[in-house]
């Protein structure tokens, strides 16, 4: 089940997505998280943030949920001093550090600080958070801005940098290519899809912030299509993310072109989901006649 992601050898391609796994502490109550290929921790900014007012969670039928958390985090210094230490207690392999910002300088500063953390194997730069104004997604919807962030963070780290892209764009390939040309070592897609729910009895949006990011099983086909387009157009490895909730989805993502797969909202409703997928993969591979997972990466593009 091994895959090589940006030079990092992963035991398997299953990675919990940022924001749905905290720093691993909560899920460790349910299983030994060392089975994971890696782990992307909660998005971190320079300063501590509360995020958006509640309610900031809404259900979308059986297909998914909307969140408008808005990057609640204790700030990069606290993450380096405290959260990373706690994380290292529960998880022994290299992790993916998810960072975000409201300015190029902030991205650069966060990246420089997290670069010094030994356990960080890959830096995942979130330029796609739909829940904050003048930050996050603003950088991920314009190829020039996306390239600028990529360059800025690459200057301050020697670790592989993966840019996390937003689906809320007309042409994701142009953004992906801009990041690749600016030096990105990999791409992760997709972040959540901007969405909305209305409480028809109260005649008001469910989410206090009105809009939020839609994720979960419902976005899988959209994510798969985008992963396929980007993997076809770019040479750097792609982490497929969006709606993955079963081992079958992991295989499908990889066949579309993903080198590894992140699992988000599914971790919230079934805390065991990543372990269940990892346990199921070998038998599924056998059924499908797959000897090595790396052989199927982007197979539909060949």
């Amino acid at each position: 089940m091994k895959v090589n992601l940006c030079g990092l050898e992963l035991d398997n391609p299953v990675i919990p997505a940022s924001g749905t796994f905290g720093f691993g502490v909560e899920h460790s109550q349910f299983y030994d998280i060392n089975c994971l290929g890696s782990l992307s921790f909660k998005g971190t900014t320079r300063e501590a943030r509360y995020g958006n007012p509640t309610p900031r969670i809404a259900e979308c039928g059986g297909y998914g949920m909307i969140n408008a958390v808005g990057l609640q985090n204790p700030g990069i210094d606290a993450v380096c001093e405290k959260q990373m230490k706690v994380l290292s207690h529960f998880y022994k392999k290299p992790v993916i550090a998810n960072i975000s910002g409201f300015s190029i300088d902030e991205y650069r500063e966060c990246c420089a600080k997290i670069d010094r953390q030994e356990q960080v194997g890959i830096i995942e730069v979130n330029i796609s958070c739909p829940n904050v104004h003048n930050g996050g997604m603003a950088f991920g919807t314009d190829p020039k801005a996306a390239a600028e962030v990529t360059k800025a963070v690459k200057e301050v780290t020697t670790k592989p940098v993966v840019m996390k892209l937003s689906p809320n764009v007309t042409d994701i390939v142009s953004i992906a290519k801009a990041c690749e040309e600016a030096g990105a070592d990999g791409l992760c897609l997709i972040n959540t899809v901007l969405g909305m729910r209305i409480d028809i009895r109260r005649r008001k949006p469910v989410i206090a912030n009105r809009y939020g990011g839609y994720s979960g099983a419902g976005i899988f086909p959209l994510a798969l299509r985008m992963v396929n387009q980007v993997a076809n157009a770019c040479h750097v490895p792609v982490i497929g993310c969006g709606g993955v909730s079963r081992a079958e989805d992991v295989i499908e993502m990889m066949m579309a072109g993903a080198t590894a797969v992140e699992i988000g909202a599914a971790n919230l409703v079934n805390p065991m989901v990543c372990k269940e997928i990892i346990d199921r993969l070998p038998s599924l591979m056998k059924e499908l006649g797959i000897e090595h997972l790396k052989d199927i990466i982007g197979i539909v593009n060949k």
């Binding site: 749905t20 905290g22 109550q29 509360y50 309610p55 969670i57 949920m65 609640q72 079934n270 805390p271």
Partner: protein, 239 residues
């Protein structure tokens, strides 16, 4: 877990008993998070009563999920996560006469709380509020524990007319600590009108219910706290 009982208490409010063994309840006021067919998120519901093998919950039909629950028959298997949350702390120094206050479907967790307070040798007084007499739940059950139970209804059809604080005033309840679970306006009124420290159970929309998504965070005097994992019970002084 398996549904052992699912009975209507009053219009739109049901009592469900779930069996099949569970992790131990560490405090009254903890909750379970229930997965439902074709619903993405789980539904958080307080534990009303429990023993080693079963949970009892009392829930109100307010939307599609709880409506679905109300139609489930005995024997149905449910995927239940929990017990979750901190629950009420009953190890309070010098507490002898706690006041237990609840409103609407905030009352269920207070049943288990009252039972535990009695076990500890405290003398709780219970005050519960509803909109109207036909909505009153758990009155007999609470009284059967051997405590004084006062009721208020907004329309005066049962007990004292008005809100719980009106019933508290009318009954001249004396207390040295309080516990509360109910709607926001009730919480606000109690924060104003109680003279002592107390514990308040909060409610928020939840993503996971076990602390991973920070979807349910509130701002307290002690910083950002997750209602599901750091709560749902908070001290009055930190809110």
């Amino acid at each position: 877990m398996t549904i052992l009982e699912n009975t209507k208490l009053v219009d739109n409010v049901y009592r469900m008993k779930l069996g099949g063994g569970h992790k131990p309840v560490t405090a009254p006021g903890q909750f379970v998070n229930i997965a439902l067919p074709d619903k993405f998120l789980r539904r958080p519901i307080s534990i009303c009563d429990w023993d080693d093998e079963t949970f009892t919950i009392v829930y109100k039909v307010v939307g599609e999920g709880t409506e679905m629950m109300s139609r489930m028959s005995v024997g149905t298997e449910l995927d239940v996560l929990g017990p979750l949350g901190n629950g009420f702390d009953i190890e309070v120094q010098k507490m002898r006469h706690p006041l237990v206050v609840g409103g609407g479907v905030g009352v269920p967790p207070l049943y288990g709380l009252t039972k535990e307070l009695l076990k500890k040798g405290c003398h709780p007084t219970v005050v519960i509020g509803f909109n109207t007499a036909s909505e009153v739940i758990l009155f007999d059950e609470l009284q059967a524990l051997g405590v004084d139970v006062f009721v208020s209804t907004m329309d005066g059809t049962g007990g004292v007319k008005g809100v719980v604080t009106d019933a508290m005033a009318k009954a001249c309840v004396l207390y040295d600590y309080f516990y509360c679970c109910g709607p926001r306006p009730m919480i606000e009124a109690l924060k104003q009108e109680t003279m002592t420290e107390g514990q308040i159970s909060m409610e928020e929309r939840m993503g996971c219910g076990f602390g991973a998504c920070v979807g349910c965070t509130i701002e307290t005097k002690n910083g950002f706290r997750r209602v599901c994992a750091d709560g749902p019970v908070f001290l009055k002084s930190e809110l």
